[in-house]
Amino acid sequence: MDAEVLSRQLTETFGDDASCVARSVKRLYVALKPDGLYPVFDWLQENVPGLRFGTSTAMDLREGVGVWHHLPVNKTPLVITLKVVAPKPDPRIPSLAVKVPAAAWIEREMTDLVGVVFDGHPEPHRLVKAEAFPDTFPLRRDFDVAKFKEEIGESPEF
């Protein structure tokens, strides 16, 4: 299955809710609203054989916190990327870990580093940050390294 065919099928099924861009035959980017994530993911799991959860990228963007879920498909060069943007200051996105356990770790990591909350995550505790780490998010653009060092010291005792 190549990206353009899949892009047409997604547009037929979901209309404006899923805006697809096929950058090449092997890369498909699908922009979604947070509440459109589950229906599209379910549809993909049903209709694309060999689809597995690869990883996710979280980014601090101007319009909010962007979470890109990368889904490679076994036996094909296709990688589908589902893009969801959660508006700041309180970014919330439905958790994919409910649907596929492979997403559990990476969602906890994104919560730690960028501060996006995944609604319904089965184990929403910290993965990357130590328990004593203050509630700031190192990959946010407003993360102040100087202030962090001042508060916690150069080599903190956790």
């Binding site: 090449s24 990368h70 490679p72 076994n74 356990p101 492979a102 559990a104 990357v128």
Partner: protein, 405 residues
């Protein structure tokens, strides 16, 4: 974690002779059976992703090589794949072949390293000594061709930085002949050994469904019969032009994971021979390239499985975001599926079977049910252990050595 009466917690790590890198496992056990795994990682968080936003595209492959001490080629070539996906370019054929050669040499020495460590974990130190002895000449070839045993600094966006000298190819071929013989010997030794079969068969099984659920990749997935290999699925470098096979086995246990890696070693040697024989002439790279705004995804089949890099460029000479997902990140998470219900002595080898690389990874927790088993005395444990020995002896058709009480 508060243990119920029959439940005990056994800590492995974060610093432990079994582990080559710091990682903590808390195994909750009932008797000898593991009912809960809690892994804690990130003792070696290096902040590579934020550092990557402060390096130019030319400097990045050098930084990314240092993510991992074993798969250094993996991350730098994977980043180049992502950048070349963003640019939509093809690189010169000679550069493709050079990337294939260093990638496969890395796979050979990495798999030999794993075979040795796996032998060490189950107390079979002869395999450990032998495998590492044969790994050494492979590292020497890597040094002969690139100038360094691990970090070649060859890949760059749009090709490779330097050439590799063809005058050393005959010497490299000679080493490959030697290593191939030894790999065949190791493979035969593993396949024929009744003790290894009794120790490893049926241990740490991952079913194909669990493989898909946990997103497991690489040899760990292929041992369960899931047909996935980026080298074939999305051919990068020269893999599309070469003749080689994806190795698959069916059972998904530790024994099959070892067999897959040993078979892959032979395929890698086959690939290397073809590269040495058919090395094309020509340019090495496309020179310095301007990186436009956009995003790209690179994939690479590391020795441990699929590596993914996501690159987002804003048109300057430094990336806006670089996400690195190493294969161990998903493979280690699948311990939740493979370790529960195992005997505690089998967990060490189950943990080792996916060839975990904690430098690349980060922490887990699972709790599964509680039950009201009575607390066991020392005598109970002796009796259980004797019954287990008798069961194994029956299965192997051997006489009982123990007088059971």
């Amino acid at each position: 974690m508060k243990a119920p009466s029959s439940r005990r917690v056994v800590q492995i790590g974060p610093f432990h002779p079994l582990l080559e890198e710091p990682v903590g496992f808390a195994l909750a056990v009932e008797g000898e059976t593991v009912v809960d795994v809690d892994a804690r990682m990130d003792y070696i968080h290096k902040g590579i992703e934020i550092l990557a936003q402060q390096r130019t595209y030319d400097m990045l492959p050098i930084l990314l090589e240092r993510i991992c001490g074993i798969c250094s080629v993996t991350h730098s070539v994977c980043f180049c794949n992502a950048a070349e996906d963003l640019l939509g370019i093809d690189i010169p054929p000679r550069a493709n072949y050079i990337r294939t050669i260093i990638g496969e040499l890395e796979r050979v020495h990495s798999h030999l390293l794993w075979v040795g460590l796996a032998g060490h974990f189950i107390g079979y130190n002869t395999v450990f000594m032998w495998a590492w002895k044969y790994r050494e000449p492979v590292c020497d070839v890597f040094e002969m061709l690139t100038g360094h045993r691990q970090n070649s600094a060859l890949p760059m966006v749009g090709g490779v930085r330097r050439d590799i000298p063809e005058k050393y190819f005959p010497e490299a071929q000679k080493t490959l002949d030697m290593v191939e013989g030894k790999v065949k010997m190791l493979t035969d030794a593993v396949l024929d050994d009744p003790v290894l079969k009794a120790r490893l068969k049926g241990v740490g099984v991952l079913t194909p469904q669990e493989v898909m659920d946990w997103g497991v990749v690489g040899p760990t997935a292929r041992a369960s019969g899931v047909d996935t290999d980026v080298r074939r699925d999305e051919p990068y470098a020269a893999y599309g032009e070469l003749d080689w096979d994806v190795c698959l086995t069916e059972n998904g246990d530790v024994f099959d994971k070892a067999v897959v890696r040993l078979l892959e070693l032979q395929e890698s040697i086959k690939i290397l021979r073809q590269c040495f024989d058919n090395m094309p002439k020509g340019d090495l790279n496309l020179g310095m390239l301007h990186m436009p705004r956009g995003e790209g995804i690179g994939r690479y089949e590391a020795p441990r499985g699929e590596d993914i890099h996501y690159l987002r460029s804003n048109g300057t000479n430094m990336p806006e975001r670089l996400k690195v997902r190493a294969p161990s990140y998903t493979n280690v998470a699948s311990f939740k599926a493979s370790c529960l219900g195992e005997k505690i002595s089998d967990v060490t080898i189950t943990l080792a079977a996916c060839d975990p690389c904690y430098s690349c990874t980060e922490r887990t927790a699972v709790v599964r049910g509680t039950d009201d088993q009575p607390e066991r005395t020392f005598g109970d444990l002796v009796r259980l252990s004797q019954a287990e020995t008798r069961r194994v002896a029956d299965e192997m058709g051997r006489p009982h050595d123990l007088q059971l009480t």
